[in-house]
Symmetry: C2
């Protein structure tokens, strides 16, 4: 379906988008920590945000911008989450947008903001101001890589992808950068994902698509069961491909939807695979339930179980912990109807451990990518959750990441 994939191009692959990432001195490490994404042509915008009742200041400000339907830029920093910072934090988030707007020659209300890092600390506004000035000066069509690196925290690598789709007689481009790592959980986490496209679509139709797709992508990953105060996914569509506007129910909408879903699921999988300290990438497919919600609840129960996660870290085919997590998920189930497979090999069926070949299953457990299939035999619905294991490194990262 996709004619081209180009991870390096990221958010600047779609026409009319520029980006930059600079060192503003907010991260203690001295690494890149200030990202700017800009489109001169006005973009329609859609967004989904954390459902945590304690929403960070940048989330409050970005929600307001999304409500207007259009934007020209995203400015984001790592190293400081600007969360639990009260009125000062909210004023700083608005100032951050205004500073970027002044450099870019647009309105503050055209600038989306993002922050990730430590909670409860105020943004160093002088450093931020200098960083925004420097980033604006460096904006370019090669800037996505730096922008991607400027938003990561404990991620081991920057997540990016881009591709083009033939749509309405035009080659329409999509690109994304994302950061994830800790606190990744249903309804998202300290997760930022910025998606750009030169498709031509209204903000309301794009919002509908994004809200639906988030349910089967970003809301289906779990690293540690925590949900952050700062999670944000934004899509900017500037129409620079020259295509006619995408209408609801059209073949072009179906293509746009498929492309956005592809990019959201791809970024979700990479975020889960790069969970803090992860040594395994787990795909948990639950099928045969009465509803999607039932399947998701069971898959999340497995994905969030520390006992399951440590078993995969130990490369132990411990199906007992998986059936146990199925059993306490709170969804009606019949142990005798349930079948569990690791890497396609049945390990539990008919209420009992299956008679599997220990060498074969050990090979599955030694892989980096492991698929867990759970068939419930209760209906026709299904759901897939992406997760990772729990390692010594997770404890180290989170025990030593001091306030």
């Amino acid at each position: 379906m996709f004619s081209e994939k180009n991870a390096a191009a990221g958010v600047t692959f779609p026409r009319g988008f520029q980006a930059a990432g600079v060192k503003a001195g907010i991260k203690k490490s001295g690494n890149l920590d200030l990202a700017l994404i800009y489109t001169e042509k006005t973009a329609n915008v859609a967004g989904v945000f954390t459902q945590n009742a304690v929403a960070a200041a940048p989330v409050i400000v970005s929600r307001e911008v999304v409500r207007t339907g259009t934007a020209h830029a995203i400015v984001a920093n790592a190293g400081c989450a600007n969360a639990c910072t009260g009125e000062v934090g909210l004023a700083n988030a608005r100032k951050m947008a205004a500073l970027a707007a002044a450099e870019l020659g647009c309105e503050a209300g055209d600038v989306l903001v993002g922050s990730t890092g430590i909670i409860g600390v105020n943004l160093p506004m002088d450093k931020l101001a200098a960083g925004i000035k420097a980033a604006a000066a460096e904006l370019s069509e090669d800037g996505s890589k730096n922008a991607g690196n400027a938003i990561i925290t404990t991620d081991t690598y920057s997540k990016a992808c881009s591709f083009a789709v033939e749509m309405g007689g035009k080659s329409v481009r999509f690109g994304a950068i994302a950061k994830g790592s800790g606190m990744i959980q249903p309804n998202m986490a300290t997760m930022l994902c910025y998606i750009t496209t030169d498709a031509n679509i209204s903000s309301s139709l794009m919002q509908k698509a994004l809200s639906e797709i988030a349910e089967v992508s970003f809301n289906m990953i779990s690293v540690d069961g925590d949900m952050s105060t700062n999670d944000t996914v934004l899509v900017l569509a500037n129409g620079a491909s020259g295509m006619a506007e995408i209408k609801a129910g059209s073949p072009e909408y179906a293509q746009f939807y498929a492309a956005l879903k592809e990019i959201c699921q791809e970024m979700s999988k990479r975020i889960a695979a790069d969970g803090e300290g992860a040594t395994k990438f787990l795909t948990i497919n639950v099928s045969g339930t009465r509803t999607f919600e039932d399947a998701k609840t069971i898959a999340m129960s497995i994905a969030k179980s520390p006992l399951v996660k440590t078993a995969f870290f130990g490369q132990d085919p411990n199906w007992g912990r998986v059936i146990c997590a199925v059993g306490y998920a709170g969804v009606p189930m019949v142990p005798e109807k349930t079948v569990i497979r690791f890497g396609g090999i049945p390990v539990y069926a008919n209420g009992l451990g299956a008679d599997f070949d220990l060498n074969e299953i050990q090979k599955v457990m030694e892989e980096h990518d492991i698929v867990v299939d759970v068939e419930m035999g209760m209906g026709d619905a299904s759901a897939t959750v992406w997760s990772c294991d729990f390692s010594y490194e997770y404890v180290k990262i989170n025990g030593e990441y001091h306030t």
Copy 2:
């Protein structure tokens, strides 16, 4: 209130109870693994069990015995959970009761059974039979310590307590042994707790008390959020104190209720404090909610957050992770009304980090026992959850405990 506490005496402190613990060869380590508790005088019985839909065979059998209202014995093993073992497992659990009954001269229907350990493996019935014979021969009033050691798995120590209460003109005795450690979570976990008393109370009244008390004791502890297939709490009351029968609504019932609550909460705290790999014992008090359920939901959200748990392991006063866990608990809250204290010192208030003394808070974080108070300012209800931190050792224990 309690005239005597004597941990060593445990389940044999109440009159008329004997116990034993022997090495049946079920644990690979060769340690004690078969426990027997016996009262010649018929005991009224009450029990609460795992709510996991995948209940182990011994849970099924013990539920049947509890339904009859009376029992003479408990036989329990460690090293094999007899869970996910199908018809063979159920037959083995019944056989286990019958073997003990034959040695003790009672009916199989008078014997409660318990198993803890690896899931999906059948009980070694020859070893079990020999162990039961040996345990029956060793039954004594000094046997509680061995019985307690025979039911532990990854616990670092056996949990036991006992005390006497003046009640209805008699000194009425209570005793308990318990095991916990991994998979400790609301609605219990791989947790066995056996309580004996020489009080005189009907099984129905005792069941009412136990069911209520479990909600504020065993269901309020969380080690890792998992819930096992085998959790069981049993109370045997043989009336040997010579007191008149305790009637509903009487002062003696209030005394009995208080004593049972004390023993259940005490054992719950010890189980939480000895969570797998734990270096900290956390008491999480949530107050000022509209309902007990709201308070419990928030306290459990904090207790189960791996980010909170690793922060306490790292002795980091990371209140940001605590307010974050409060925010995603799903209970209505107002960040500005919420106050968080660590060891009595305010760390978050008015939507912001409080201005605390870093040296003072560091002293709190270095303690083994840490109290976290969260005031929500939304109502008059409250709840307390007991939990522990998440350490390297947790990952090690659970990554290496192979099937």
